[in-house]
Symmetry: C2
Subunit: 292 residues, 2 copies
């Protein structure tokens, strides 16, 4: 008999992974942390039964969130990451000629475990002199910090428990205060299929604070349903309207595996129909209710 | 207690759907056919435990396979579909100003059931005067037919049982004989994550018969892992190199929900890294072996 991990994102759907070895299994003060292996995805980081990242497909999510946002800013120097303890997002941000990246992660154990078991995901990121890690509550950080950031990435967990604060007006007020003029905010905004309420909530929080709000849909094979939304907000240029030439110059020499200028434009185009359905209360919207 | 449908694509991974109602459940001479409902995806057509299509996400697969191929041909007039009994692909092909579409489906029961239970998927397709349905073995049809087609779409099932012939040199010889000069062949080539051998086999069958072989990766939420490959072959222009302007003109006025010129280019770009890994025997390739 084999053990299976069931990542049940909604009442009616789950992705299930057969577990090979369990390399780590411990409850931190914040969550149940596991590192397991799977024949297809290699080592997997699992928090509270939800797959966060894997050796084999981490680039789909991390490249998308990092480069959609950083390429949408003309010259990103200072970057803030809320969450992202596995270091994959930090690694992607550091491919750009940034000056300073602050990563605020609430659970030090996630960072320690990722450095130990997932070196391919966080490769070199935590050792980079431009990176600073703060073990802190992201909500408190944005409320109390004083500096401004060109790009802020929110790698938020599912909306439950303490993470609910990441879906509040207070948090978004803090993000707005920390974002430099023409800065770009990018937030993982959940599955458009199963978490339509989450996506709608985030878009509404943004729309009352920034003139430009754009959702992109990308593929993340290990996230249930494979289709994932990332939503950007800015007072600067429309992220969906930046030319392929400009985007290509920003990633020149990076040898990325998923993100490309064509992917950038397609991700926003694909989202348009889905967002329209969700905001009109069409089928996708009725399918899942995730916020309390 | 609720019944769950488990679509286990490989030893280590499955997508699972909670079944609401079972509307149809019968074994045809060829396969186990079910129509069930799911809270997120509406009515689902299930063949031998594999989800074929659903009311809510059918457009991801059908728009991709149809329009990637038809937009890659300068003027598609005559189209052949092998398989595709649910009619979704036929519906998409008929959006173009084609003269004649022949659909060759081996299992008449799939067509009857789709017309009865999935009218949204096959909407109007079977009633269109340009469409002709043949209940026949696709392998025999391409071997015996005499006419030529501008575009051939192969909506093949998983490689097992009688469908194994769809992955043979004889079948591809038949496809080559039926394809008009500069015609475009497009084949669903499986999950790049779990069926790497299948994708590699199809690419090799094509590469020995056509000078241009291009794989595209698209999202299909209800297919396990969400990431799916479609592979095109032609002696004509490179499908990946057609301008957005030309592609846009071909789909003008169609009001598609997934396919777009940007998606067309991104799908080929995203595939490049994955195909390179698979053909070099890198991690994705080792992950799954599906052909006997």
């Amino acid at each position: 008999m084999h053990a299976w991990l069931t990542d049940q994102i909604a009442e009616g759907f789950a992705a299930t992974f057969r577990i090979g070895d369990t390399l780590y299994d411990h409850r931190s003060p914040y969550q149940h942390i596991r590192v397991v292996t799977n024949a297809h995805f290699g080592r997997m980081l699992v928090l509270d039964d939800a797959v966060q990242t894997t050796e084999r497909d981490e680039h789909y999510y991390h490249e998308s969130l990092a480069h959609l946002a950083l390429c949408a800013h003309p010259r990103p120097r200072r970057v803030l990451i809320i969450g992202g303890g596995d270091g994959g997002l930090l690694k992607e941000v550091l491919r750009h000629p940034v000056e300073r990246v602050i990563m605020v992660e609430i659970d030090a154990e996630v960072i320690a475990i990722s450095r130990r078991f997932l070196p391919a995901v966080c490769r070199g990121a935590f050792e980079d002199a431009r990176a600073a890690v703060r073990i802190d509550d992201g909500i408190r950080f944005v409320a109390e910090a004083r500096e401004a950031f060109d790009v802020i990435l929110v790698d938020s967990p599912d909306p439950k428990g303490p993470a609910l604060g990441l879906y509040s007006g207070d948090f978004y007020d803090g993000l707005r205060a920390r974002l430099a003029p023409a800065g770009v905010l990018a937030v993982q905004s959940g599955s458009p299929l199963f978490q339509a309420d989450l996506l709608r909530t985030i878009r509404a929080l943004m729309a009352s604070r920034w003139p430009v709000v754009r959702t992109a849909l990308v593929t993340v094979p290990t996230y249930p349903g494979g289709l994932w939304s990332l939503t950007l907000a800015t007072s600067g240029a429309d992220p969906a309207a930046i030319s392929a030439h400009v985007l290509g110059a920003q990633i020149a020499g990076m040898h990325l595996r998923y993100y490309s200028p064509a992917l950038h434009h397609a991700a926003f185009e694909v989202a348009a129909a889905v967002v329209a359905e969700i905001e009109q209360g069409a089928p996708h919207a009725r399918a899942g209710s995730t916020l309390p």
